[in-house]
């Protein structure tokens, strides 16, 4: 996305920077204070929830949602929307204007799909399962005569292929420097479509989607936060649909392993890296390394950024592992370490979601409107398909101060939810209120540090100390 703003001044741009009325450090301390207070509140009011009671939650069946979900309509409508979206990206990317701000492919890919759909799936539930265009194309072409797949993915591969796919996509967005070229976005969409369809044909639809298709794994993960829960039978058909409180779905069992932990960490680290590259510190670091890598020529910058993304991801993973190890140590109860590390990793998902929302806030409320005038002339051929050509995006919700305060609220909220979920998980793992409380001090420290770091990163491009 950073590459886009080279050519598209609106993206990530806020015009005049916001003069903070007080020192940035005070904001950071205040945010950290809120997280600490929330820890105390959780310990006071939910501290006695231990064992299985800690991770059980209320849910209510919603009859009308169940009836709708059991019809083929949602999948059919969602599939049509998804396939049309994919076609629009490919067609406008290849045939439309090559200026990123004048091409719908850029808006559809980076704002509506990558930012908005992820957040929406976290807020509502797994919408991707409805709009996944590759699953729809596969179902249309092979669904009726679906045979046993000729091959199966190796046991133990887990979701590593999906993690690699996710990392590559993030690297394309953040490190390549060419993600603002519509023709390339369209070409890669075609290539990914071919790879995904081939993978589903060879290894089986669900096998491929749940292990190797990075977006499906991502949406399954974030939708655990959402309030809609579908109960399925052995054949995968929906039996009942429930509503539950936000976030508690992350307490449900999950596949255990470093692959899951790494995937969760990648969702955090790639977002943090997106924010980090806008900071003066990164610019200086990158500048120094570019001098060292000058022999690589034009490849030097992408290489430095990929190294930076890897470095940040490894840093996040190792620091999280060290803190979770401390959690287990202070929990003073013999537990399966891998299972525990994975279970605590899921409690970070709310942070990834809110960070996504905070980081992309201006995209969502301002830049997303840029698509409206393009609907009248998506291929830049001088057409007037709709009377929207003269639409001017509204900045009503995107003043720099508004953005800053929204980001503070979102970041603090995400960390408070994470603290709450981690406490419940500790109650389940360590069985007594005392042990659960003691185990959570390292996690609290991690949350406080992460809150302050996240806000510091987000503050760099939009604020100025007054």
């Amino acid at each position: 996305m950073s590459a886009i703003h080279v050519h598209a001044p609106l993206l990530h741009g806020f015009g005049v920077r916001y003069d903070l009325p007080i020192s940035l450090a005070l904001y950071l301390y205040a945010a950290a204070g809120v997280v600490v207070v929330s820890f105390v509140m959780v310990a006071l009011f939910a501290g006695d929830r231990v064992g299985d009671r800690a991770i059980s939650y209320p849910r209510r069946e919603v009859g009308w949602l169940t009836r709708i979900a059991r019809t083929p309509c949602p999948r059919a409508i969602g599939g049509i929307v998804g396939v049309l979206g994919l076609l629009a990206i490919v067609a406008t990317g290849l045939l439309g204007s090559q200026a990123p701000t004048r091409n719908p492919a850029e808006y559809l890919t980076w704002i509506y799909f990558w930012a908005a759909l992820v957040i929406l799936s976290g807020l509502v539930g797994n919408l991707w399962t409805l709009v996944n265009p590759w699953a729809a194309l596969y179902d249309i072409s092979l669904g009726r005569r679906r045979a046993r797949p000729p091959r199966s993915l190796p046991e133990g591969l887990g979701i590593w292929p999906a993690a690699v796919a996710y990392f590559l996509f993030a690297a394309f967005e953040l490190a390549s420097g060419v993600s603002n070229r519509p023709w390339l976005v369209a070409t890669l969409a075609v290539v990914y479509t071919v790879v995904t369809l081939a993978g589903m044909a060879i290894y089986g639809r669900d096998e491929w989607l749940t292990h190797a298709e990075g977006f499906t794994v991502l949406f399954v993960l974030v939708s655990r936060f959402g309030p809609v829960e579908a109960e399925r039978d052995a054949g995968g058909s929906i039996v009942r649909v429930y509503l539950r409180p936000w976030g508690v779905g992350l307490l449900n069992p999950v596949r255990t392993g470093w692959d899951t932990v790494t995937f969760v960490i990648l969702t955090l680290s790639t977002l943090a890296f997106d924010g980090l590259i806008a900071t003066p510190a990164w610019q200086q670091f990158q500048g120094d390394l570019l001098v060292l890598l000058a022999p690589l020529g034009a490849l030097a910058q992408p290489v430095v950024r990929v190294i930076g993304m890897l470095l940040l991801s490894v840093t996040f993973l190792l620091v999280f592992t060290a803190f979770t190890r401390m959690v287990i140590f202070f929990g003073s109860r013999r537990v399966d370490q891998m299972e525990t590390i994975t279970a605590f990793a899921l409690t970070l998902v709310p942070i990834a979601l809110v960070y996504n929302a905070a980081h992309n806030y201006s995209y969502l409320v301002v830049q997303s409107q840029g698509l409206i005038p393009l609907l009248a002339d998506p291929f830049a051929k001088g057409w007037h398909l709709l009377p929207t050509q003269t639409y001017v995006p509204s900045f009503a919700l995107a003043g720099a101060s508004m953005v800053w305060y929204m980001q503070i609220v979102l970041i603090v909220l995400g960390h408070v939810v994470a603290v709450y979920l981690a406490h419940l998980r500790a109650g389940e793992r360590f069985q007594t209120a005392q042990r659960a409380l003691l185990s959570q001090y390292p996690m609290l420290l991690l949350m406080v540090m992460y809150t302050m770091t996240s806000l510091w990163i987000l503050a760099q491009p939009i604020t100025r100390e007054g």
Partner: protein, 207 residues
């Protein structure tokens, strides 16, 4: 509760802490090397950073002596009790060691830099933390690999020496030596004679 948790810390957990202290200084050196290249030596020994060369030298010297002492213990156990043939004890998981070392090194590095900034009156440059992460990582990886190998052998050696020390002392006794085989002088002479004098001299190809 906290007391019981603290008591539960095994001495084994102290090794990564010690390694983290040493590794942090090694990473610190790397940071300066990466940032300032050939001028690193001059920069890191000046101003509020003047203490650093002394600290690094002392830390590495102490670490070196500890490693030599540890190797001495391992060697002593082998000399006294022979090579251990039993199953090797479980190594600590390397990823957890890397995580512990890296986190500790990064935290110490950040603390050290923050204190230096406070002493100089200048704000901490955030870019230093990026350099810190980049340079502490390879040190942590190497340190964890080495520590994993060393810890296993060292603990095994200490255990072996402990077992030997617990045995009753039977006094010194001469080393066991087998009787030397008698020299077969006649057989040797017969071999020589059978080969004949023709076998002496340069090889056939040059004859």
């Amino acid at each position: 509760m906290i007391g019981s948790a603290v008591r539960a810390i095994r001495w084994r957990a102290l090794w990564p802490v010690a390694a983290g202290l040493v590794g942090c200084q090694a990473g610190h050196l790397l940071v300066y090397r990466l940032r300032f290249g050939a001028h690193a030596g001059a920069v890191q020994g000046a101003g509020v950073h003047a203490y650093f060369p002394q600290l690094a030298t002392t830390t590495f010297a102490v670490a070196g002596m500890a490693v030599v002492a540890g190797l001495g213990v391992i060697g002593a156990a082998r000399v006294a009790g022979g090579r251990c043939r039993g199953a090797a004890p479980a190594r600590p998981p390397v990823i957890e060691l890397v995580a512990a070392l890296f986190t500790l090194q990064l935290a110490l590095f950040a603390l050290q830099e923050a204190l230096e900034s406070a002493a100089s009156g200048a704000p901490l440059e955030p870019v230093v933390l990026l350099y810190g992460a980049a340079c502490q990582l390879p040190v942590a990886l190497l340190g964890a690999g080495a520590l994993s190998l060393f810890l296993t052998r060292f603990e095994q050696a200490v255990e072996r020496l402990g077992e030997l020390a617990a045995r009753p002392w039977t006094g010194l006794r001469p080393a066991e030596r087998g009787e030397p085989a008698p020299l077969d002088v006649l057989g040797l002479a017969a071999q020589r004679l059978a080969g004949g004098l023709a076998s002496r001299g340069p090889p056939p190809i040059v004859r």
